[in-house]
Amino acid sequence: MKKEQLFDLIGEIDERKAESAYRAVSTPKRTRIWVRRGVLAACMCLLLAAAIPFAIAMIPNQATDIFREGNLIEIKCKEELPAVYDGELLAFRLDFDSYEFYYDADGDAQNTDDWYSLLAHSQNKDNAVLLHCMFGDTTVEDWKVDMVFTKKATKTETLHGVEVQIARMELSLQYQYWHYAIFEYDDVVYDIRVRSNDPNDIYEIINKLLVPQKTN
């Protein structure tokens, strides 16, 4: 199937769903995050008032500046991004301030045993980076198949001792390419997507993630 066909097919879905989505955006919800945080703060106050000793005991274990949306939880400060794997989480090697970080789990953000994956996202006018670090049972082979299936140009390279599969997909009007890279390092599968016209951009990200293992 071609992407244009898929866009056409999405136009054929149940009209009630399309109308419902339109209604959802007709009513702005810009304050929702703050409302949610306000409700959370109010609940915390009640809890504190009702059971101060318990609350005091609990507070150090709470991530205080994160919010939940489905199973994605935003990581708002470096302290919520614990150092793991060879003394340092690879995503931590990225410039924290340039990215938004999320972890995917129903559990404690500071307990990496609860993590299923970590996502880093960065976007500006000309390019975008999406980094997906997958923990647990995911294997690089699963993702290689996925990548070969959808992308046209693929190649495998060994970079800093790690086998990296790289793919490129040509885009339509505004941007020329998405570049993809997938590799496994320290039992973590990394899926990197960079929307950029410069193929060096994805190598720059890979280098940031892999070079420290040689220098440490």
Binding site: M1, K2, K3, E4, Q5, L6, F7, D8, L9, I10, G11, E12, I13, D14, E15, R16, K17, A18, E19, S20, A21, Y22, A24, V25, P28, K29, R30, T31, R32, I33, E69, G70, L72, E74, Y99, E100, Y102, L119, H121, S122, Q123, A128, L130, H132, F149, T150, K152, M169, L171, S172, L173, Q174, Y175, W178
Partner: protein
Amino acid sequence: MEDKEIVSLYWERNETALSETALKYGNYCKSIAKNILGNEEDAMECVNDTYFKAWNSIPPHRPKILSTYLGKITRNLSFDRFRRNAAQKRGGGELALVLDELAECVSGKDSTEQAFEAKELAQTINAFLDSLSKEKCDLFLCRYWYALPIAEIAGRFGMTQGHVSVTLNRLRKQLRTYLTERGFEP
């Protein structure tokens, strides 16, 4: 004016139907066309064509949801115009990005056989949307039905742009898996 009354005007062949449609749904149709085409002039032409097409198709049709009926006409007309513009290497609104995202869900192959599956595929996409929470379904459709920019979706849903991008990325992956598991080679 209520939608039922507007539809009745179409059925009575009363041209007030057009001005009432423009009054109530002009901006809605224009926003769809503009998201897809990124060009005010082309968008306005598509909106005018939408009124014309609605006039010619009601009757015999009696749309249950007038907004989506008109929106769908606008979407189709705008998409046709987008393809013509793309062939001439000009223009390009949010849709270029939307299509590039959707490319991750499909193989890019074209086959005649697949054309016969279109109806079944649309039903499967419907079922996929049914399996999502309402918020995720709305998010998906805002991007892939209405071609809304990510920044606008984020503003409307009270989310960050990164959160919207990441969620959409996952939904695309889920859709591809969903289609593959049901025997469609996307």
